[in-house]
């Protein structure tokens, strides 16, 4: 009987391992910016054989209202690698990350108009880190084992430098939101 129980448990372990394999779709958080009043999230859906699909999500913490925001057509196939809370919206950095990285594109998303405004590209295919100061993004870029510092002005847009921001490594799958630390699991399609 002990053998039987052990056998069944091994079989179950193998079945679970199989379930995690190959073609199952996976959603993950790829970027995050949080202030006491709102949260911006970059989300990526991947499935083998399909183009990755990224989107942005916005939470108002007071009302817990949420909005799922599609990326504009010109950003299709790109991943949100950083998002920064800004006045009236978010500064969103995206990169093509399948097979090889390209130069990250910077856009501003307006909460008021729901419009995307391109701000330009960061000339670095392998950014080690991208951080915000009030009106610029500072990138540490790696090339041939050497690093350089790049500054990307955000024109008239102003980033909230007090916002907590993160590029998860590897991507987060759950987040705790707000004062009550309400967990959000992407698998539940809560966004």
């Amino acid at each position: 009987m002990k053998f039987l129980i052990l056998f069944v448990s091994i079989l179950m372990t193998s079945t679970l391992a199989q379930a995690a394999k190959k073609n199952l779709a996976k959603d993950s958080f790829t970027a995050w910016s949080e202030t006491p009043s709102e949260i911006w999230l970059g989300i990526l859906k991947t499935e083998k054989g399909y183009e990755p699909e990224a989107r942005l999500a916005h939470y108002e913490i007071s009302s817990m209202s949420k909005k799922s925001i599609a990326l504009p057509r010109e950003l299709q196939g790109r991943e949100v690698i950083r998002v920064f809370t800004a006045t009236d919206g978010a500064v969103v950095v995206t990169q093509q990350r399948v097979e090889q990285g390209d130069k990250p594109l910077v856009n501003f998303y307006s909460k008021k108009t729901s419009a995307w405004t391109p701000l330009g590209e960061i000339p670095c295919e392998s950014p080690l880190k991208i951080e915000a100061e009030s009106t610029a993004l500072n990138t540490t870029c790696e090339r041939d084992a050497l690093t350089t510092e790049l500054r990307f002005p955000l024109k008239q847009h102003k980033v909230d430098v007090k916002a907590k921001s993160l590029r998860p490594i590897p991507s987060l799958e759950t987040l705790e939101l707000g004062q009550d630390k309400k967990p959000i699991r992407l698998e539940a399609r809560s966004l």
């Binding site: 009987m1 053998f3 039987l4 052990l6 056998f7 091994i10 079989l11 372990t13 193998s14 391992a17 199989q18 995690a20 394999k21 190959k22 054989g49 399909y50 183009e51 699909e53 299709q76 196939g77 093509q96 990350r97 399948v98 097979e99 090889q100 990285g101 390209d102 295919e125 392998s126 950014p127 080690l128 790696e142 041939d144 084992a145 590029r167 490594i169 590897p170």
Partner: protein
Amino acid sequence: MTAIAITLFPTLLFAQLRPGACPDGKTYKVALTLDDGPNPIYTPKILDVLKRQNVKATFFVLGERFESGSRVPYQLLDRIKAEGHLIGSHTQVHHAHTKLSPAEAKKNIERPKDLIGSYLSPILRLPYGDGSFKSRDPDKQKKNDTVMSLVKNAGYEHVGWDIDTNDWDPQQRRLMPGSMLKEICDQEGGIVLMHDIQSNTAANIESWIKAIRAAGHEIVGLENFVPRLAKTAPPRIIATPIHQEGH
């Protein structure tokens, strides 16, 4: 039932406990591919490792590397071929092809044949894989279909990948080789994607090869995953490699 359990138990237990193997106890076949070269500094270093480790790989090269008039990139192709590796096209310039006009995409796909046609196996990998994936957006899918028919009409079979090492990404590659070994298990083996323009890859590929083998996996030629290559003649051998591996 108990008899079956007693019979299968040792096998399953061994499979679970076998060091290095996948959680299901299995080991898999993988083929190594290297994109974006040839690079005058890193490709020779990687070729040295492949020779030392007796591994045959596939290099997807960019046509633009052969526009400078220098003999060096051609000499690298001679060496790649002489040492028994395969050479595929990575198109002329590393563009996202669905963002080009059909005429521009056609030109970018076809140009490498003018420059290095005699070296190329009939295989091509689109930069960023762009065009080769399915899209849920019908307009994008139409563009993907156009690009893929251009690839086919140019005489190529598109070769994607199963295991992306993310060796170009300074953050993700810190997770190597563990991330690659996990993917090999999750994908049940397949085609591994690396880049021979990365200093990090040149510095670490030997340890990655050793890690693959230590986990019990087998490194094989791409023809194991692309049947068309098995049917075509093997690459022309200019000089006899020291470590000739049968395919």
